[in-house]
Symmetry: C2
DNA sequence: CCATGATCTGAACCTCGATTCATATCTTCT
DNA sequence: AGAAGATATGAATCGAGGTTCAGATCATGG
């Protein structure tokens, strides 16, 4: 015998995989899922179409990986912002604001993550991350109820509703045909509404 | 010359079209868009696959027509319920309740209308109907603000948020894997939350 | 009952992009 | 250097399902 993969080749492999993911991220940010065909992807990453399959079993898996990567990044950012606050009101405000500002900053990507039609396997990732946001919001709300800062309520439902409210309110400004508007008043209005919804005093 | 379509043939034609739409409605309610292939559709309607194209220019158009039909029916029901009330609070309550109860009553169809991935042409219908709900809610909210029943707010945004909140809160119970739960407390919670969100006193 | 035109039929066709695979290139170890 | 395993290449293949179309069937008016 005479060849076993080593750290160096492993690194190259990783780098190639990363370049593919990066190319997919770019294409997604530019033209959504439709733009992320295998051939375009390979061209962008500077590899042959067949090479894609050395790293991912199928297109769906690749897209799912990209989704996981990007969505995970977003969720982490929101989580971090929430963690940095203490009162339920401030935490919810941070959640809504960070989510909204980031989405409005990368509208095409946000649209792809939030609403654009996708293959079932990717849709599953979407649901997973949506659940992640639900859970985050739920945790905040439960803590708020416990501390007496928020009135008693079905925290799970309220959490889903808050996430839904933010998502839908953003969809207008986000949608591919949406007009560019000043984010600040939009985000401020959404935030206030969400705080009212869960019974937090906004001011 | 010797043949011109007449009332009778026109009726047959209409009936066939209706049967196709009905078959599509059934398939949609059973297995979503995936189940609504042309061949399955034709089989269900008792016609040949080619005949479908005597009534619809393409599959997308057929699906769009079905969507329009079903979604229009839903929107009408909600509109009617809203029209039957006078105060903004009662109207909003009716909107949320009727929307929710109907959705929970036909979960698979509601899922198809609300969230299931679709072709762009149908997606457009979805946006149209979503806008219809937004508009309905916005009208109610504006009236409420004018009459002083609701505090000043960005009515358009609030409307979108309310619709989003209801949709997302329902998605859990609706989703194909969602567990069957008693609708009443769910709907009641969503309603209260929405009323709080727009600043209506709930009790 | 025939001519005419509309509608129906369903197997064949087509399209488009994901996937494959024979071949070439590259990496490591002796 | 040479063997052997791993990875890259990209043109060829394949499949699924929407769409077409030549012929069959049917309704109408003369």
């Amino acid at each position: 015998m005479a060849y076993r993969p080593t750290a160096r080749t492993e690194a190259t492999r990783l780098a190639h995989r990363e370049r593919l993911l990066d190319a997919a991220r770019q294409l997604l940010a530019e033209g959504g899922y439709q733009a992320a065909s295998i051939s375009a992807l390979a061209r962008r990453a500077g590899v042959a179409t067949g090479s894609v399959y050395n790293h991912f079993a199928s297109k769906q898996e690749l897209l799912a990986a990209v989704f996981r990567h990007v969505a995970g990044h977003e969720l982490d950012a929101v989580r971090e912002a929430v963690r940095a606050r203490s009162s339920a009101g401030e935490q919810l405000r941070a959640l809504v604001e960070v989510f909204s500002y980031r989405a409005l900053h990368s509208p095409r990507t946000a649209w792809a993550l939030l609403a654009e039609p996708v293959d079932p396997l990717v849709e599953e990732e979407r649901l997973t991350y949506r659940r992640g946001y639900h859970l985050l919001a739920e945790t905040v709300i439960v803590a708020g109820i416990t501390s007496g800062e928020l009135p008693p309520q079905n925290a799970q439902l309220s959490a889903a509703a808050v996430i839904g409210a933010v998502g839908e309110a953003l969809l207008g400004p986000l949608s591919p045909v949406g007009a560019r508007t000043d984010p600040e008043p939009v985000v401020e209005s959404i935030t206030e509404l969400c705080l009212r919804a869960v019974g937090a005093k906004s001011a």
